[in-house]
């Protein structure tokens, strides 16, 4: 065949969506969810090249993301219980031999749409749209400078995230996986003149690459074991095949885990996320809190059938999640930068989700992802509003009583709402989702993980404490604030641009005409998304409210998760609702008898116990921080001083504040040795291989020549010696021949 027609056909395929007809007409346009963000990204690029100095790119992006959201909503109605595969066009598909199994690779650009996909895409695109709207105002000081770059990055991110979630095979997932990595790299490094920002971006990409390595190898293994990397075929293959004891099959979940931990910032690969806060706040909210970091959870949920057959892997996931939650919480307690605190809380909450996955409740994990997406986005966006208004000030020691500052009341109260949700205050959405996880932790078949339940409760208390540490310090108490020194991280002309962008210098942050500082009140484009997201955060709890009020087991999230691969053989699910053993087709030894009510925690049914204990922990944490950070703020410093005072306890404070030195540890144990080795190798390459061996061999002929050099010093006899010697030798040779001939 000839290349050109193929090119043509491929472009057509891209344009008009799926080539093969499907039952539901909506599916024909499922590709739009990918295509629209891509188009907006390209348009942003064009805007950048055409030096467009308006908010056009923001409009484009918001429109595109909204369109994607609408597409997903329509699909929501269209997709039934059975997953649908929509083939957009062939990407990598190639067979050899007879083309049978193990004789071909097929990884095409097709979409695997089931309820889980829809569920994920719903909040991804929804939040994406809202946050883009938020960003359209937040980034306005960069109009004409980085504005298009920002929205281009957001568009690319959403495109990649759509590939990740909707991709029909693991290679598509890998594509999205790397794509979101790229987007996060570009957006963290948005202020690319700041060395920290660049370093953070690099760190994020590289640490993620370590995880991607695991993912890539897992792909190879999966193909090697099951002969395909496409979900639909893969599930069949797994159903067909008995749980094999091959090391290859055993290794798959561990490698996948590595990838998930990298992307979702779990131990040992969590270090990039706090630094990623160098990026603009909307990015932190969208990518590093709400959506991208949940990709790891999605991966494991999607690949759940491969995990359930491997209890050790499940336990490992649970433990890593629990420990990460604990560690991040302890660090979060001791930080002073608001965004960093939220970052560590994100890590901690993600730890909860992995704990949930590990103990088998993919439903709980997904539910927590869902709720967390909203309230964490809310928190970040409020923090961003504060930062935007107070010229980049994020130090919770320098901000206080914002709820009384004009223009910041709404923001403050929404932030406090977010704090309640994050603290999993009783009967908030997060409370239910966390409850699901902890209950499953206590009731898991695998006794090894029960202790994680208790850890989870401790973390709940810590979370409540540090959440309200921020809440009380920043939003309550006496009104007192200092502006930050820098203006969202870019150079000082930023605000002049901002002033051009929207008039009223009075309402505008920055040391205006007469020295003193005016907070810069957010306008509608920031307020509206905040309100909508807050509503979303509240509504996120709706399914559980229904469950709680009129004991209706039909939990929307659960149905979403249940009708997907994430539910195949989810062992501990069975305790929650009695009607869904059927939904677990090949439960690897998950017997109903073992499930649910058998477990008693402190003599109570797991649900009630966890509910009470959780509320207790939460309220305790809130009260402590109420005292320390609102009623008697001096006490906090006094406590710190006393702790610092005694050698026995000093390490707690120092460790927590220095983030337990994990970064330094990595630097010393991995980066430094590697650099030393690299330098040694470079020296070897330069001196030994090149200068030594190669040039040495090259110098050999010259050296040999130098032996005879004295003969040719220009004196006649030198040449004469050669001549005479040659003559003599020739003569000798002739004579020798002649004498030999003589007899």
């Amino acid at each position: 065949m000839i290349v050109a027609p193929a090119m043509l056909s491929s472009i057509l395929a891209l344009a008009e969506g799926p080539l093969d007809a499907h039952a539901a007409p909506e599916l024909r346009w499922a590709g739009l969810a990918l295509l629209l963000p891509l188009v907006s990204g390209v348009l942003c690029l064009l805007c950048d090249w055409m030096k467009i100095r308006s908010k056009l790119p923001a409009v484009l992006t918001i429109a595109a993301l909204g369109g994607a959201f609408a597409t997903i909503l329509r699909l929501q109605g269209a997709v039934g219980e059975t997953p649908v595969v929509v083939n957009l066009f062939d990407w990598i598909s190639w067979t050899w031999g007879d083309g049978s199994r193990f004789h071909g690779i097929s990884a095409n650009v097709d979409l695997y749409i089931d309820r889980l996909t829809i569920f994920w895409m719903l909040f991804v695109t929804g939040l994406g749209t809202l946050i883009a709207l938020y960003g359209s105002e937040y980034m306005e000081s960069d109009v004409g400078k980085g504005y298009t770059r920002f929205f281009g990055g957001v568009s690319i991110f959403l495109f990649a995230m759509a590939c990740l979630v909707m991709g029909g095979n693991l290679v598509m997932l890998y594509l999205g996986w790397e794509g979101v990595g790229l987007a996060s790299y570009l957006l963290i490094g948005y202020y690319f003149t700041k060395p920290e920002a660049v370093a953070a971006a690099k760190k994020a990409f590289i640490v993620n690459r370590v995880g991607d390595l695991g993912l890539a190898l897992a792909l190879f293994l999966i193909w090697q074991c099951y002969g395909t990397v496409e979900y639909a075929a893969l599930w069949k293959a797994i159903d067909g095949a008995p749980a094999s004891s091959e090391w290859t099959a055993q290794a798959i979940p561990w490698l996948l885990m590595l990838g998930a931990f990298g992307k979702s910032a779990q131990l040992p690969l969590y270090v990039w996320l706090p630094d990623a806060m160098e990026g603009p706040t909307p990015v932190s909210a969208l990518i590093h809190a709400a959506t991208m970091v949940t990709a790891g959870v999605f991966l494991i949920a999607r690949m759940f059938p491969l995990f359930v057959v491997n209890p050790d892997a499940m336990a490992a996931v649970a433990w890593v999640g629990g420990l990460t939650a604990l560690l991040a919480a302890t660090i979060g307690m001791a930080q002073y930068d608001m965004k960093r605190i939220w970052a560590y809380s994100t890590i901690s909450q993600l730890g909860y989700m992995f704990l949930g996955l590990g103990v088998g409740t993919s439903f709980g994990a997904s539910y927590h992802v869902f709720t967390h997406a909203f309230f964490k986005a809310l928190l970040f966006l409020t923090a961003g509003a504060v930062m935007h208004g107070f010229a980049g000030q994020l130090d919770i020691r320098k901000l206080s009583g914002l709820s009384k500052v004009p223009g910041f009341r709404l923001v403050s109260w929404l932030a406090v709402l977010g704090c309640f949700w994050l603290a999993a205050f009783p009967f908030t959405a997060a409370f239910f989702s966390k409850d699901e996880i902890l209950v499953s932790a206590f009731t898991a078949r695998d006794e090894r993980v029960h202790v994680l339940g208790w850890i989870g409760l401790v973390v709940a208390a810590l979370t409540a404490y540090y959440t309200f540490r921020v809440g009380f310090r920043v939003f309550f108490g006496p009104v007192k604030y200092e502006p930050g020194d820098e203006h969202h991280g870019h150079d000082d002309h930023g605000h002049d641009h901002a002033r051009d962008a929207h008039g009223s210098p009075a309402a505008h942050g920055g040391r205006g005409h007469h020295g003193e500082f005016h907070p810069h009140a957010p306008r509608w484009a920031i307020r509206v998304p905040l309100v909508l997201i807050a509503v979303g955060a509240i509504l996120a709890g709706w399914p559980s409210y229904r469950t709680m009020l009129n004991h209706d087991e039909r939990n929307w999230v659960k149905t979403q998760v249940k009708q997907s691969s994430a539910y195949q053989g989810a062992p501990a699910e069975s305790h929650g609702s009695h009607d869904d053993h059927a939904a677990a087709p090949n439960v690897a030894g998950a017997d109903p008898a073992h499930a649910g009510h058998g477990h008693l925690v402190l003599g109570m049914d797991a649900h009630t116990a966890v509910g009470r204990l959780g509320s207790l922990a939460c309220i305790a944490g809130i009260l402590v921080s109420l005292y320390l950070h609102l009623v008697n703020r001096g006490a906090a410093d006094a406590l710190r001083r006393t702790l610092m005072g005694s050698v026995a306890t000093r390490w707690i404070v120092v460790g927590a504040e220095r983030k337990w030195m994990v970064d330094e540890f990595y630097d010393w144990v991995i980066r430094l040795p590697l650099r030393v080795i690299a330098n040694i190798l470079a020296a070897i390459d330069d001196l030994l291989l090149d200068a030594g061996i190669v040039n040495g061999l090259g110098a050999l002929p010259a050296a040999v020549g130098r032996l005879f050099r004295p003969l040719y010093g220009g004196v006649v006899q030198g040449y004469a010696v050669t001549m005479a010697g040659g003559v003599a030798l020739v003569a000798a040779w002739v004579i020798w021949i002649w004498l030999r001939g003589a007899n």
Binding site: Q717, V721, A724, G725, A728, A731, W736, L739, A742, N743
Partner: protein, 325 residues
């Protein structure tokens, strides 16, 4: 087959030469000389034996002495530290060579050698030495570069290899030759042929023979050609005497033309072209010598001008003039 002992002797000679080249003095010098002479003697003895000649032949003794003398003189030529002596020793070499020529029956060449070399060439050398001799420096009666010989080892090595390979040729003299008698016969035949080309000489010889035979040497006329005998030693020539009687005249080898005669005859009959060529070469040499001599005078002129700070006349020497200062 390889004559190893020849090589051994050559090696001894080479060692002796090497030692002498390093300008030894006193006993060392004596020892080196003796070593060299011993090697030489051994070489010569082997040579004589190789020729397989039996019995004593005075010519061989003379020849051996001559060779020894020539060799010794040659060695002195290259070991003496004063060019004048070298030239004089070379005269000795030439003389010895001439003696060798004589012994081997090349009388004409012997004398012409003496004349040309000792008489002409060596005198030229002497003149040049006088023209271009440097005043002896502090090191003694000679200049430094004459006292120290240059890389004698390499030189002697080359020389040895050459000597050894050339010396192996002596074997050739016997092993690859047909009997000397046959050679002589052919040679005599050639000589008689040459003689046929010289009617005057033949007439003279026949007259002498007739007189010796008591016949009338006058008024005879040849009655046939000159028939050479089988062995080539004698030749018959029938003549009709004045009284009409026939007489077979017998000519002997002693009647053959002498060396110079036949050499001249050979030269003009067989090698006329080469002869012309030699003449041309000599002419060219003469012209070249003249040109060089003129340049020398110009250069002297230039030196004077340069000394006086005037521009040079010979522009093509300008660059070389640079590195002279």
């Amino acid at each position: 087959m390889i004559p190893p002992l020849l090589y051994a002797a050559s090696a001894i000679c080479a060692v002796g030469l090497f030692l002498l080249l390093r300008q030894p003095t006193g006993k060392a010098r004596l020892g080196a000389t003796i070593l060299g002479l011993a090697g030489l003697a051994w070489l010569l003895v082997q040579g004589v034996q190789a020729s397989g000649a039996l019995g004593f032949d005075p010519r061989v003794a003379i020849m051996s002495l001559t060779v020894a003398m020539a060799t010794a003189a040659a060695v002195r030529v290259i070991t003496t530290t004063r060019p004048v002596f070298a030239a004089l020793y070379f005269v000795l070499v030439v003389v010895a060579g001439a003696v060798a020529f004589l012994v081997m029956g090349a009388e004409f060449m012997a004398f012409s050698l003496i004349i040309v070399y000792a008489g002409a060439i060596l005198i030229t050398y002497m003149f040049v030495l006088m023209l271009a001799q440097q005043a002896p420096d502090a090191g003694g009666p000679s200049v430094a570069y004459d006292r120290v010989s240059r890389e004698p080892a390499a030189a002697v090595l080359c020389g040895f290899v050459l000597l050894a390979s050339l010396a192996s040729v002596v074997d050739d003299v016997r092993t690859t030759k047909q009997p000397a008698a046959m050679v002589e016969a052919r040679a005599n035949a050639a000589a008689w042929n040459r003689m046929r080309g010289m009617p005057e000489l033949v007439k003279e010889r026949i007259t002498v023979e007739l007189a010796a035979a008591g016949k009338d040497p006058m008024g005879w006329s040849p009655a046939g050609g000159l028939e050479v005998a089988q062995d080539g030693r004698t030749a018959m020539m029938p003549v009709t005497l004045a009284d009409g009687t026939r007489h077979e005249t017998v000519l002997r080898a002693s009647d053959l033309p002498v060396n110079s005669t036949s050499l001249g005859w050979e030269l003009v009959t067989s090698y006329p072209g080469s002869l012309e060529l030699a003449g041309v070469i000599l002419l060219m040499a003469m012209l070249g010598a003249v040109v060089l001599a003129r340049r020398q005078t110009d250069m002297a002129e230039d030196d004077r001008r340069a000394a006086a700070g005037l521009p040079r006349v010979n522009v093509e020497d300008a660059d070389l003039a640079g590195d002279r200062t």
